[in-house]
Amino acid sequence: MLMEKKLYTVIVYSENIAGMLNQVTAEFTRRQMNIETLNVSSSNIEGVHRYTISLWTTEWLIQRVTKRLEKKVDILRAYYFTDNEIFMQEVALYKLSTPRLLENKQISKIIRHNNARVIEINSAYTVVEKTGKTDAVLSLYKEFAAEQCVLQFVKSGRVAIVRDASVNLSENLFDEDSIRSKVRG
């Protein structure tokens, strides 16, 4: 069980200071764990940054790495989750050739069927945006690619929110007793 490889999502809260990203990623690189996606941004708390990191690994390892992350002086909390414990989304942008779009009706259908949004049109290109799970944004890319209309494509790392109704990750960030005294989890 502990040794089965799965996609884990790690959520880290840290002080917003230079060098933090290095400290966070170093804990993965020293074990040659390959980060799949990484999102870093300010959180709902001033001066605190939130990292969302996804990677394939085992529970045995991720347990230990998140503990080590949380031990770092300027890191407030580190948690890990599997996909069934979170809502996650990624944003993708597709820059499509406008002439191809106009001559091939199939492309507009693909946009509608996938609930994607057009956010820019000019005579040269059209920018389409889609938010969704990894599979959905990637399969949309494949559909566009089959119509040979993609000029550029980018997708973000995942951002995630915990499903459990009773969990508010940022609630007890500065409360010493809440999590630090608990040894596990």
Binding site: G19, K71, V73, L76, E176, D177, S181, V183
Partner: protein, 564 residues
């Protein structure tokens, strides 16, 4: 308090004074000159120790810290000065030693331009330090220094690095002392969980064969008395790790010796016989556990530690007791039933007999042949009434000294455990004479390790450090040779070594010395060393092909020690 306009460099010194710093180890250079210039006016305030190599500055600060319980401090220049400290910083990280390393840095305006002697010190030291921070303005100094000392000395201690840009050293600041006594993202002392305490006590009370394994955490937490009260009430036999050797006196009736690869037979074998294993301030290092798959599988395990990361790290724990053991031990002791476990304790004695006969007797009382390391170590321990601080280098000398020295007082062993740094001993011993000036400091080294920081004889001469140096010359990198003999068909690749006359080297520094090759001269030579005031070098030629026994070979279980 009145604010004063001073330079950042002077603000550093004021801040160090506020942290009660009395000794600074260092080496100057271009990008730290302003701080050393300020030190010129602070000659009365600090004992200023110019070392001969920056690596030694850090090891000296470690020796100072571990003998005094205070934070060790060093100041070095940027670039090569800073990179020379990396071994010491790593050593302090693995062995939880509180030190603050302050390094010069190029001016912030030229950071990132490959300026002369610029290296990304924060980037390089983040993975090997507890905290690493760049001071880029004089306003930052008071806060950063106080935070550094707070972080280095609290919770599980460790090294902190301050990277001090030159512009911040020279610019002026309205200095005001600051005391940092909390960091919101850092909880050094977790609150004990009373439920776990109760479960731990219940488990110990039901145990038939409880066994405590004790590490440096007891020393760092100053929990020596609390440990003894715990062991005595529960009648619990205990053994110590290398790092924790002086956490429990060697002659305490419940002290069963040393754990680990070259530890004693009794505690290692009985690790796999006990029914409840109580780990106290130790981290289940691979040198202690041997093969994890067979480590104490029969036992329920209780782990007292201040660092959450250590719980379940390599050995799965049944009852974790997170917290400072000075606080958690008495809470458990209170709930313990008085017990004695006489029969169980007797089993250690049976194993001791075997080890005595097969190993110890031969190591301590040889009748002929060359001198052995073991007998030298025991004789020096006796000659100093088992009251000295033992500082070791790394290798066979370290293991023999650790095994055959006896420990009466707390803080009596200073050795490089986690990193196993050859060259650690001499500068660490030098620092120990300053951290504990009232104590005798005995430094044991091999011919290899002595030569790794031998230049510090200069500092020892200049500072008149009363280090008793025992260099045990086997003309081999002995520990590696032992492995080659046992596991590589005795192919002694790169381990024989041709050595200089160490006494002549000591003489060049004006340090008295004595050369001993015959057993008949050993006692008198040790007596001379102990009775000669100040530093002394005892150069003992020992048997070239001796092995440290017993030994738990790599990959073996704790119960599979080889004796010869």
């Amino acid at each position: 308090m009145k604010k004063e306009l001073i330079t950042g460099g002077e603000a550093l010194l004021r801040s160090l004074k506020n942290e009660q710093v009395d000794t600074i180890y260092g080496y100057p250079g271009g990008s730290i000159i302003p701080v050393f210039d300020a030190l010129y006016d602070y000659r009365e305030d600090f004992h200023q120790v110019l070392v001969r190599h920056e690596q030694a500055a850090v090891h000296a600060a470690q020796g100072y810290a571990r003998s005094s319980g205070k934070v060790g401090v060093c100041i070095v220049t940027s670039g090569p000065g800073a990179t020379n400290t990396l071994t010491g910083i790593s050593d302090a990280m693995l062995d939880s030693t509180p030190i603050v390393v302050i390094a010069g840095q190029v001016s912030s305006a030229v950071l990132g331009t490959d300026a002369f002697q610029e290296i990304d010190l924060v980037g390089v030291t983040q993975p090997i330090s507890k905290w690493s921070y760049q001071i880029r303005s004089a306003e930052d100094v008071a806060w950063a220094v106080s935070r550094a000392f707070y972080i280095a000395s609290t919770g599980r201690p460790g090294p902190v690095v301050l990277d001090f840009t030159k512009n911040a050293q020279v610019s002026q600041v309205l200095y005001e002392p600051i005391k940092v006594d909390s960091v919101r993202s850092y909880v050094p002392y977790p609150k004990p969980d009373l439920q776990c305490i109760k479960e731990a006590a219940d488990l110990i009370n039901r145990a038939k064969r409880p066994f405590a394994v004790v590490g440096q955490g007891v020393e760092l937490g100053e929990a020596h008395k609390e440990l003894i009260a715990f062991l005595e009430k529960g009648g619990i036999p205990a053994a110590r790790t290398l790092m924790g050797l002086s956490s429990l006196p060697s002659d305490h009736p419940l002290c069963m010796g040393m754990l680990g690869m070259h530890g004693n037979l009794g505690p290692n074998v009985n690790t796999n016989e006990c029914d409840v294993l109580i780990a106290i301030g130790m981290r289940f290092s691979d040198r202690v556990t041997g093969k994890l798959e067979t480590y104490a599988k029969q036992a329920k395990i209780i782990h007292l530690d201040i660092d959450k990361v250590e719980i379940d790290k390599s050995v799965p724990v049944d009852i974790p007791v997170l917290g400072d053991c000075k606080e958690t031990l008495p809470l458990i002791t209170e709930l313990l039933n008085e017990n004695s476990h006489k029969e169980w304790i007797a089993t250690f004695g049976d194993l001791d007999k075997i080890e005595n006969e097969k190993v110890i007797e031969k190591a301590l009382n040889p009748t002929d042949g060359p001198i052995l390391m073991g007998e030298v170590c025991r004789k020096v321990s006796e000659a100093t009434n088992h009251n000295a601080i033992l500082v070791t280098d790394v290798g066979q000398n370290q293991m023999f000294a650790a095994r055959y020295f006896k420990y009466k007082e707390p803080h009596s062993i200073i050795t490089s455990g986690g990193l196993g740094t050859m060259g650690f001993g001499l500068p660490a011993a030098m620092g120990a004479t300053m951290g504990a000036p009232h104590r005798t400091v005995c430094y044991f080294a091999g011919d290899g390790g002595f030569q790794m920081n031998m230049q510090e004889l200069g500092t020892i001469m200049e500072q008149r450090c009363p280090v008793k140096m025992i260099v045990m010359d086997n003309s081999y990198l002995g520990m590696v040779r032992q492995w080659q003999q046992l596991f590589y068909e005795n192919r002694c690749s790169w381990t024989p070594m041709c050595n200089p006359d160490f006494c002549k080297i000591a003489e060049a520094y004006g340090i008295p010395s004595r050369f001993v090759k015959d057993r008949s001269e050993l006692d008198a030579a040790i007596k001379e060393m102990v009775e000669t005031p100040g530093a002394f070098l005892l150069n003992v030629v020992v048997r070239a092909e001796d092995n440290v026994m017993p030994m738990m070979p790599l990959g073996a279980s704790v119960c599979e020690m080889i004796l010869e």
